[in-house]
């Protein structure tokens, strides 16, 4: 009797081990996401991106427009909200900055700068190994009713990001991270949905962001790749330039 129980237990342990061995690794899951959204070859052709849409903090009656530009390590995002004005942020030649009428102009430094510079990279998704040396599978979780792999991605410096990839489609459905901000570490959760093909690469046209207790939803109506973006589009506003006197206006590559 005791021997039978022992064998049953051993079989169960072995099954768990086999199942684990059958599970994909973290890197394989991220690579599958790259493949599911177009593949490396399609990503390699992307030199710039422009996304435009609306931003809505519906629960609080606040809404506006959003425009995101990316090109060769430079980035610029502007959100315009009635009663608040323009909320601008960007990365230009390695300088990460923000500017708005509420808190003024500021140049980001340290870990906060590192995160924004990393996120500005045009190859962030498909060359993810450059930015995240490790990607570790940390279990499964349901996101909006869809079974997902939970993968912890650790950058060379700074806090890890946790990403949730659909087991079925391979798409990235959720990200959580603690973002370094001017006000200190801020937990942030993003949900990604409504993936659509944009010149061979699938992009999430709906992005939900929950940070600092405020929930916002961005819905993009237009997303283009490889359009010509003049370097001036990434120029820092005079208020920011005043804070970075040594920055030279190198053209974006």
């Amino acid at each position: 009797m005791r021997r039978r129980a022992f064998f049953q237990l051993s079989a169960a342990s072995l099954s768990a081990a086999w199942l684990k061995a059958l599970e994909p690794t973290g890197p394989a899951i991220v690579d599958r996401f790259v493949a599911a959204t177009g593949g490396k070859a399609a990503y390699d052709k992307v030199t710039s991106e422009v996304a435009e849409g609306t931003v809505n903090m519906g629960a609080q009656g606040v809404s506006g427009t959003v425009r995101v530009l990316k090109k060769a390590g430079n980035a610029y995002t502007v959100i315009e909200i009635a009663g608040v004005g323009k909320l601008e942020e960007g990365v230009r030649n390695g300088v990460a900055w923000e500017n708005n009428k509420i808190t003024g102009a500021r140049v980001r430094s340290g870990e906060e700068r590192a995160v924004h510079v990393r996120n500005a990279a045009i190859d962030l998704d498909h060359q993810w190994r450059k930015y995240f040396p490790t990607a570790e599978l940390a279990g499964s979780e349901s996101v909006a009713g869809e079974d997902c792999y939970k993968v912890i991605m650790k950058p060379a410096t700074g806090e890890p990001e946790t990403r949730f990839f659909s087991k079925k489609s391979g798409l990235l459905l959720k990200m959580t991270a603690t973002m370094p901000t001017q006000m200190g570490p801020m937990p942030m959760e993003s949900t990604l949905s409504d993936y659509r093909d944009v010149q061979g690469v699938k992009r999430p046209f709906k992005l939900g962001v929950n940070a600092g207790g405020q929930a916002a939803e961005m819905v993009f109506s237009k997303w283009t790749m490889n359009s010509v973006i003049p370097d001036t589009a990434f120029a820092m506003p005079p208020e920011v330039l005043a804070l970075v006197p040594k920055v030279t206006a190198k053209p974006a590559k």
Binding site: Q60, A82, K101, G104, M183, M186
Partner: protein
């Protein structure tokens, strides 16, 4: 007419209370349950018990006013600021109808209403006691409020009550009975003025006139504004005022009296016009999942000379965060009377029944480690108002000017 209509609507019975009211109750309860910054404290305050107590009451309510009343009662039991359910009308605190304003300000001294800072040409002079509005005595209503509240919050509510009685459409006449010290009561008709400033909108807040007044009083620059909204106009106004003081002002006065706050992080941005060092902390917003610091960085134009901030019982929320933070940093000297002590960061959401629900989502701890909620900012120099002081002018501003002129250094504005 509108008040009568409101009273009629409040009295209307319902055939059966729409299920949306129970849904609304559940939403209110759940939002607080999910967002309160300290679940243990919430439980100690009996939030679960309050649900069991009030849900059946809402379910059995015969009128919408009754249902809304129970929900308001439930959230008031937590004794925290920034809880409000809009919709219907509050019976005790009359709501302003029309955005006209009287040609004078109102100060509350020991539970009585006094006129203050009249507009040029106003028939009502400063330092008169206001006895009646439209034949309705003020004393009894002010006393009734005093039974339920104390401290700066009471004074602010009493002032709001008087101002709401004095409201109406711009151009309308309101009859007031006022009495100068040592004089006899006089009945006067005062014409209501248009609101000061431009109207702005933000989120679910109703349209609000934003008034920003900058001026020079001799060699001192001043700025007064009524709410922390509309940064597109407010920040440039601060910048222009600071720039205008460049090398010519002995000091600067920021008048936050009667300012109820607004966009929280605007305190960081406006404080930035008065600091020289980056990453200075005004205080900390304590949420359930994080502690966020209200961090100040110098703006492009800054004023480095003596800074006075004026506060009173109407100074609340973001205004308290700015005043208390700059006081804690040793950057400003604060004059006036204790602020409201209503400093919980909050959000406003629409409820299933269409009402708006404002609720706090964080606690706020000042740089010095003090909880501002319920405590407020204590001035460095308290200036007690008296009828004679009101008649003489603005004793709080005078105290600030006197202090500025007593400072030795004349520090110019620095452009970084």
């Amino acid at each position: 007419m509108l008040r009568l209509l409101t009273a009629l609507l409040l009295a209307l019975p319902l055939a059966a209370l729409d299920p949306v009211w129970l849904e609304t109750f559940d939403k209110v309860w759940q939002l607080v349950q999910d967002k309160h910054w300290d679940p243990a404290e919430l439980e100690r305050d009996g939030w679960t018990r309050l649900r069991a107590e009030y849900r059946p009451k809402v379910e059995a309510a015969k009128t919408t006013a009754e249902a809304r009343g129970y929900m308001r009662e439930m959230i008031q039991r937590l004794k925290l600021s920034h809880f409000h359910i809009s919709g219907g009308e509050s019976v005790e605190e009359a709501v302003a109808y029309g955005d006209g304003r009287p040609p004078f300000d109102v100060a509350i001294i020991e539970g009585r209403a006094w006129t203050w800072r009249p507009e040029a040409g106003s028939a009502v002079k400063a330092g008169w006691e206001l006895l009646e509005v439209e034949g309705k005595p003020l004393g009894e209503s002010l006393q009734r409020l005093a039974q339920s509240r104390k401290g700066p919050m009471l004074i602010a509510r009493q002032r709001a009550l008087v101002l709401s009685r004095l409201s109406g459409e711009p151009g309308a006449n309101v009859e007031v009975t006022a009495q100068a010290v040592g004089g006899s009561p006089q009945k006067l008709r005062v014409k209501l003025l248009a609101p000061k400033g431009q109207t702005t909108r933000f989120g679910f807040l109703p349209p609000m006139p934003i008034s920003i007044e900058t001026k020079r009083i001799g060699d001192v620059g001043t700025i007064a504004f009524n709410v922390f909204l509309d940064p597109v106009r407010l920040s440039p106004a601060f910048e222009a005022a600071v720039k205008g003081c460049k090398a010519t002002c002995r000091g600067f006065v920021v008048d936050l009296r009667g300012n109820p706050g607004g966009i929280g992080i605007l305190a960081m941005g406006l404080a930035g016009f008065f600091v020289t060092q980056p990453d200075q902390i005004l205080g900390t917003m304590v949420r359930r999942d994080s502690k966020l610091r209200f961090t100040v960085n110098p703006r492009a134009e800054i004023f480095t000379g003596p800074l006075a901030i004026l506060i009173d019982s109407g100074t609340a929320s973001t205004a308290e965060i700015m005043a208390g933070g700059l006081q804690d940093l040793g950057r400003a000297r604060v004059f006036g009377s204790r602020s409201m002590g209503a400093a919980l960061p909050s959000v406003i959401e629409r409820l299933p029944n269409g009402d708006l629900f404002q609720y706090p989502v964080a606690n706020y701890i000042s740089r010095s480690g003090k909880t501002l909620e319920g405590e407020g900012v204590t001035p460095d120099q308290t200036v007690n108002l008296t009828p004679a002081g009101l008649a003489a002018g603005d004793p709080v501003l005078d105290a600030a000017l006197k202090w500025i002129h007593a400072q030795k250094s004349l520090l110019p504005t620095v452009r970084r």
